[in-house]
């Protein structure tokens, strides 16, 4: 079964367009969404109360293909939370690339596998399943001397080195690189301390790693400070691109993009997503005055917001970006006064 890509929304995101497939629940309370990119294609799992669907978007054709569509019925599952979770994991089956999907609903856990075609159930005790899921959620490595308040955030690549990001609500986040031994690359939230408690996003571009630092909005009492962006080089040096000027052990750091935290807005813009595309970097922000904006930059030192992105878009509550062969997919959560919180898929570059 295939769906044609829907026509661009009249309130579209400039070069980004809404390609949400039809026939799936979009309201947040009605389905759990999970998305991944595998072998250059976008996979979307939608777990509804009655229907579970997995769709694949082939960027070259712009068409959605259905890889799973089945009815589910669980007693008492007609109200409240969906109570299900989906996790994709890339692996191999008989030497071929395979995509695994773990669906957890209540106490039941099911594993499915696709080797380029429909998803089929697979026994969960298969080693290949466990290996794929473990690789998709790497455990924190044992770093020397890292403080007890730190917790593993993500694993990244900086040139040939593996880089591990740690979040820390007390000291601020840090990045550690492993060549022969682990060594700190960025420490103490790159000296903005607890205001940069978390690594919100990171993307490699050129020879550098671009990292978005900040604090999620859940922090109590104090106003959430705006996010910052730094550029890290393979030799461990770094530039501040967006943020507050500061002294550091590497000398005075001033924002090379001449933008303060949160894109230098009086009420700092909220971070939505960050991605590296074919033509440079993309940064999604939201604020009540300007709405949702996608900023583009070649190297992080000059950012331009797309004009059409200012018009008519609903409030953006959340955004996840996924790199596709032909651009970038955005999974957006939109807050529309008429329809409530809905999810949609956008594609562009």
């Amino acid at each position: 079964m295939t769906h044609s890509v829907s026509a661009p929304s009249p309130t579209g995101l400039g070069p980004f367009r809404d390609i949400t497939p039809g026939g799936i629940p979009r309201r947040c309370g009605e389905a759990v969404w999970s998305a991944t990119v595998f072998e250059g294609a976008l996979y979307l799992a939608v777990l509804g109360r009655e229907i579970q669907t997995v769709l694949r978007l082939e960027p070259s054709t712009g068409k959605w293909e259905t890889l799973l569509h089945r009815s589910v019925s669980r007693p008492g599952a007609d109200s409240g939370e969906i109570g299900a979770a989906a996790q994709f994991a890339a692996g191999r089956f008989q030497e071929a690339p395979a995509l695994y999907l773990r669906i957890a609903a209540g106490d039941e856990v099911e594993h499915l596998r696709s080797v380029g075609g429909p998803f089929e159930p697979v026994p969960s005790h298969f080693e290949e399943v466990q290996a794929a899921l473990t690789a998709a959620s790497p455990a924190a490595p044992a770093l020397p001397d890292h403080p007890p308040t730190s917790r593993f955030s993500r694993a990244l690549k900086l040139g040939s080195a593996t880089v591990v990001g740690l979040d820390d609500p007390v000291l601020g986040c840090s990045l550690w690189a492993k060549e022969e031994n682990w060594k700190p690359v960025l420490v103490r939230g790159a000296h903005r301390y607890s205001e940069n408690a978390e690594i919100l996003a990171a993307a490699s571009h050129g020879d550098c790693l671009f990292v978005v630092l900040g604090k999620s909005a859940s922090a109590p009492r104090r106003k959430t400070p705006g996010f910052e962006v730094v550029r890290v080089y393979a030799d461990g040096s770094w530039d501040l691109l967006i943020g507050t000027p500061r002294v550091s052990d590497q000398g005075l750091k001033v924002p090379l993009a001449c933008l303060g935290p949160g894109m230098d807005e009086f009420e700092p813009s909220r971070f939505c997503f960050f991605a590296s595309g074919r033509n440079g970097l993309l940064l999604g922000t939201y604020d009540d005055l300007a709405g949702f904006r996608i900023w583009r930059s070649v190297d992080g030192t000059r950012w331009v917001a797309g004009e059409a992105e200012l018009v008519g878009i609903d409030r953006v509550r959340g955004a996840e970006s996924l790199p596709l062969a032909g651009g970038i997919a955005l999974i957006l959560q939109l807050d529309n006064p008429q329809h409530g919180l809905t999810q949609s898929v956008w594609i562009g570059e």
């Binding site: 609500p169 007390v170 000291l171 103490r188 000296h191 301390y193 607890s194 205001e195 009492r221 104090r222 507050t244 000027p245 500061r246 002294v247 550091s248 052990d249 000398g251 005075l252 001033v254 924002p255 001449c258 933008l259 303060g260 230098d264």
Partner: protein, 320 residues
């Protein structure tokens, strides 16, 4: 080019030694504590100073010393008395007129002013900004536990010399540290990008060769070796010593008695360990304070909340 740098910090935050160090840069002139932004006019400044310390009847000692030094080139009882007379004749001057006069006297150097009292109220900070909207603001921090210990010691000394502080002097110094840094953060967050810079006093004193050039770079002044070397000699300032009998103060007494920069790393204590060992009495059992709270509909927060707030702010400033 801005004519003024204003250093903002709570009391007992290394502000005397740091401001004097920075003020020794060849392109800067470091003033002692002028107390000019606490009032609209010199008359108001004098009255507030008199309340702060009844012995200071002729104005803030730092202001007297600066006027004596800049008018007569020397601070003696005679030049201080002349400064008193000169200031008395100009008691209707605004604080800006007075500051402008001092800045004219040190031109073409930029002036550097540090008065911890400026940060005690938003009103004072706003006044400083209204007078000098293009000034640079340097936010200096120190670990809350060290600040508290030093501040308490200093207040004991003030009580010994007969200065009055009312019930406020019995409020735990953590609260003062918290309020003043919150004021400074609120104020600096409203400034354009780059007009303020925050720096830990411990970092400057531990690694002056790393941090002093960065401050000079931020101010757009020389960063060569000679300039940085001059900054490492605060003892060369005319205000790095006790003043004559008629105006002895104007900087931290400890600094004025021993103004040389000491080498070595400045230790940062642990806030968490401190709170494990000690339970501060945040506010004095004072009828006047309780009545003021009752009238304003205020309640004093539980201990845990106060500790959380102080810890959170400490983490924001880079202290654990």
């Amino acid at each position: 080019m801005p004519r003024l740098v204003i250093l903002l910090s709570p009391p007992r935050s290394f502000s005397s030694v740091v401001s004097t160090m920075i003020g020794e840069h060849p392109d800067l002139y470091g003033f002692p504590e002028l107390h000019l932004f606490v009032g609209n006019t010199l008359q108001e400044v004098n009255e507030i100073e008199k309340k702060r310390n009844p012995r200071h009847t002729a104005g803030p000692p730092g202001l007297l010393r600066a006027v004596a030094q800049l008018h007569d080139g020397v601070q003696t009882n005679g030049t201080i008395f002349r400064a008193m007379g000169w200031l008395n004749e100009r008691r209707d001057w605004t604080c800006k007129q007075m500051m402008d006069h001092l800045l004219d006297a040190v031109a073409p150097k930029m002036g550097l002013e540090k008065t911890p009292a400026t940060s005690q109220r938003m009103q004072y900070l706003e006044r400083a900004y209204a007078c000098y909207p293009d000034a640079y603001f340097l936010h200096l921090t120190r670990h809350p536990v060290s600040t508290r210990a030093s501040w308490s010691e200093f207040m004991e000394h003030r009580t010994e010399i007969g200065a009055e502080g009312g019930w406020r002097q019995h409020v735990d110094r953590f609260v003062g540290w918290y309020v003043i840094h919150s004021n400074i953060l609120k104020f600096t967050s409203s400034l354009p990008l780059g007009q303020s810079l925050r720096v830990k006093g411990e970092d400057i004193l531990s690694e002056p060769d790393v941090y002093l050039p960065q401050i000079a770079e931020w101010l757009g002044i020389r960063t060569d070796r000679e300039a940085i070397e001059a900054m490492k000699h605060p003892e060369n300032s005319p205000y790095a010593c006790m003043g004559p009998e008629a105006a002895r103060w104007g900087n931290d007494p400890k600094f004025m008695r021993s103004p040389k920069l000491r080498s070595g790393r400045v230790r940062e204590p642990s806030l968490a360990e401190f709170f494990e060992k000690e339970k501060p009495a945040w506010f004095p059992e004072d009828a006047e304070l309780m009545e003021a709270c009752r009238r304003s509909g205020l309640r004093i927060a539980p201990d845990e909340r106060i500790i959380d707030e102080i810890s959170e702010l400490a983490h924001q400033l880079g202290y654990t």
